[in-house]
Symmetry: D2
Subunit: 284 residues, 4 copies
Amino acid sequence: MIQTVDFKSTIDRYKVIFFDSFGVIKNYKGLVPGMKDTFDYLEASQKDYYIVTNDASRSPQQLSESFVKLGLDMITPDKIISSGMLAREYLELKVPDGIVAYLGTEDSAHYIESAGRHTIRVKDIDESNINEVNGLVFLDDEGFNWFRDLNKAVNLLRKRNIPAIVANTDYAYPLNTNDVAIAIGGLANMIEHIVGKKFIRFGKPDSQMFMFAYDLVRSKGPISKRNILMVGDTLHTDILGGNKFGLDTVLVFSGNTLPEDAETSITATGIVPTYICDTAVVLK
Amino acid sequence: MIQTVDFKSTIDRYKVIFFDSFGVIKNYKGLVPGMKDTFDYLEASQKDYYIVTNDASRSPQQLSESFVKLGLDMITPDKIISSGMLAREYLELKVPDGIVAYLGTEDSAHYIESAGRHTIRVKDIDESNINEVNGLVFLDDEGFNWFRDLNKAVNLLRKRNIPAIVANTDYAYPLNTNDVAIAIGGLANMIEHIVGKKFIRFGKPDSQMFMFAYDLVRSKGPISKRNILMVGDTLHTDILGGNKFGLDTVLVFSGNTLPEDAETSITATGIVPTYICDTAVVLK
Amino acid sequence: MIQTVDFKSTIDRYKVIFFDSFGVIKNYKGLVPGMKDTFDYLEASQKDYYIVTNDASRSPQQLSESFVKLGLDMITPDKIISSGMLAREYLELKVPDGIVAYLGTEDSAHYIESAGRHTIRVKDIDESNINEVNGLVFLDDEGFNWFRDLNKAVNLLRKRNIPAIVANTDYAYPLNTNDVAIAIGGLANMIEHIVGKKFIRFGKPDSQMFMFAYDLVRSKGPISKRNILMVGDTLHTDILGGNKFGLDTVLVFSGNTLPEDAETSITATGIVPTYICDTAVVLK
Amino acid sequence: MIQTVDFKSTIDRYKVIFFDSFGVIKNYKGLVPGMKDTFDYLEASQKDYYIVTNDASRSPQQLSESFVKLGLDMITPDKIISSGMLAREYLELKVPDGIVAYLGTEDSAHYIESAGRHTIRVKDIDESNINEVNGLVFLDDEGFNWFRDLNKAVNLLRKRNIPAIVANTDYAYPLNTNDVAIAIGGLANMIEHIVGKKFIRFGKPDSQMFMFAYDLVRSKGPISKRNILMVGDTLHTDILGGNKFGLDTVLVFSGNTLPEDAETSITATGIVPTYICDTAVVLK
């Protein structure tokens, strides 16, 4: 079994910590036990931290509320950087008018509406409005009828040469110990293959996520990438993305990666974290 | 615009003709006008012919009935080779016991049941029977709830190391002039990526389809591949598969390939048909 | 560690045995110790057998000679089915005239010349003859200057819309305990991506290899696929291809697959052999 | 044929212009005629500009010299952002000690040495030094023996779990009107498939290139992405990358994209430039 190091002494070497959310702070069982101590410690030691998440199904406000409910009052909306924020910035810059169609829940849509864009559910697209649709955003795997709306999305992209934005690159996510669910990233990938067009993806491991967080950190004062640590449970998103952006990285075992598989996975993929810790918990 | 040749004088050089079904004999509008003349001519000139189709949603009997309804009485079940027949042969040889789960309509399931296997809809899999499920077959994009059953299929394949058989390799199929529908091949491809396992695919361009047809032809007497012509509307399945198997091939414009795109597609893909004809119609 | 079964009692259930060559009969150290006993036993018990190999660098005659040198006199050229034979059949049927260009040693070219086609090394293509080149065959990773000739091959395929045939689908092959070499299949794959055209691949796991062998077996009398066993060391070629064709399969540990990795690989890929044996040796 | 707009009136709407190098400013024939007028105009109108290039074969100093030789004295090294600079930053941050192996010319190696790292040609790796090699960088397709060194690179990555960095993502580049050459990005892609590990790629369309340039621009004063225009000849790198980063984009016809193919390519890929101009030339 691979050797792990202590999380507290690891983060003590850095000024700013980026955390993945699902699989690090919480998982399908709820809060990872002890994580409140971690954030208390960060606050007490005046280290800055951000939650860098591929979750585009809810706004930073809603994500923050979900942390507060778990007792993490310190995770305010400004601490959260989600792939949905990149999708919203893209729409603001590149889709100046018209309507933006989406696949996902209404919660995820409210999020985009906050960018001042009119939205339409894919199911509501018809001959009367299709020519005003100037973008399609894949937000969440829930909130729509897969058979009807995935087929409609394919035909929308065949008829209108508009950008297709994938706000969550994950292919699947865990539901419980035994089961996973197909994520919107997996559905978007299928549609991309069928229509043959190039979709625009936001989310780790893409550097744009890390850059967004890094910009936020730098807005408070100069800092080197050497002083930032990325903590994640997934080699292909958190660790690969953090490494590529030039950050040091910690792999933890509270989510996607099991301790018994870590060594094999690291060797097979060539994605090597700087450190490996059991969890992101600071032991009191 | 690319130059086409006469279909009748083309087939006159061959003893046996293989036809794709959808896009050649019929399309979303029904029978391609004039195709009855083609089959009358084949019968009159005693040329042998087979329908070689990636349609696994119905049995040869049912497919034959659909041709008879369109006036093509001569297309009897023994003239039809479908990718579903290969899936059935696979199950007979390689899944000797247990239950076979499927995604598709009940019609497609009857088909597999004819191989003497018990079948179960993916939706009916539960803790009491999952350990008896020894194979999963992707048959048709209809007949099930995509959200519920695609997610169940993913988890079935994570829990049971059983073969996953894709009986139709198409990613999408045309519904009418403007619209396409996602096909079971596209859905299967998504699930294969998510579970990371190797699926078994039957259907053109795979040689096994052509071999199945060629075996049938040879059972009536010796024949060289030089005397067999494959007629199809799709470069990536009919023409690529026919070429690779060593047959001469005809591309027709009654289906997937438009006359104005043919030259570009042939150059871009490097898939070159032996002949190009407007349709597979023998003009009287 | 995964449980293995006895090879002799396994093959006793079958009438015909297909063997992969490299990794089963021989490996980089030479003959797998004891394999002579296996072929003596097959001869004594009058079981039919064939060598089904992705090696297109030499003709069946030359491959047979290499077995005879190792003491396996019974492996005559008619026992050998190679992916090169499929490439040759393709050229005979589909490239009736002109010159066939190739990448590989001159030995591999002799092989194609036996199909009655004129051949040319890629390095010898120039303005005076390029318009007569009607096909390009990837035969072996040796016998040419990679920098000069891979670049020439790319430009040949951009200028002439001709079939590109890959006679060995392997991406790499072992040189010794520690090192592998890039195989012609890997080089061909790179060029396919760069030119964007569809190449024609022969070799396991493609069914056409198995069909070629099966046709040979059937020419001696009727036999069911149930009575044929495929023996191989590689999940992705031998076992996947054998399974898909409907044969029972044995994985052995004398080549690509290590005993300690077998279980993980089988679970990860979903490619499940019917049996697992240490080697293909029949113990006396 | 697609409608183009005037380049001068297009850039007049922006404060900062990013230019691709090859295919925009120069091509295989040398300087694109008239480009000196463009840079004179930018200087006269005090617009800021940067060259954003996937060329990692030479340092910014050397690239600048090549522009000066063509008469573009104003393109000083500080105007140049290359994918090699990102590779260098990565090595500085993530490969603190040991030796960095490379494939490419010695010129490209000087580049990495400027990051204070010891370098070694892949051909010089042997048992005595392999354990000190802590990274492999793919820099250029020239300067090494493909057969010997690509094979050595495969085995290096099998023996040492070290990062593999691809400093140029292009698969091929034009040599003249008729011919292309395989680029280091194509070779790296082949090796990535063979070893099965995840390589780290720098270069357009990846956002990290644009971010590097954007950081440079912002260091001179606040600016919105709305005021930056990316000019390029390639949909998949310049235009896709610029769009994704949130910039407006211009496609020009002096390089990879031909006027007669533009409409088809834009529709097929879904990569839509904000503007299309014949060239990046400002007419006097």
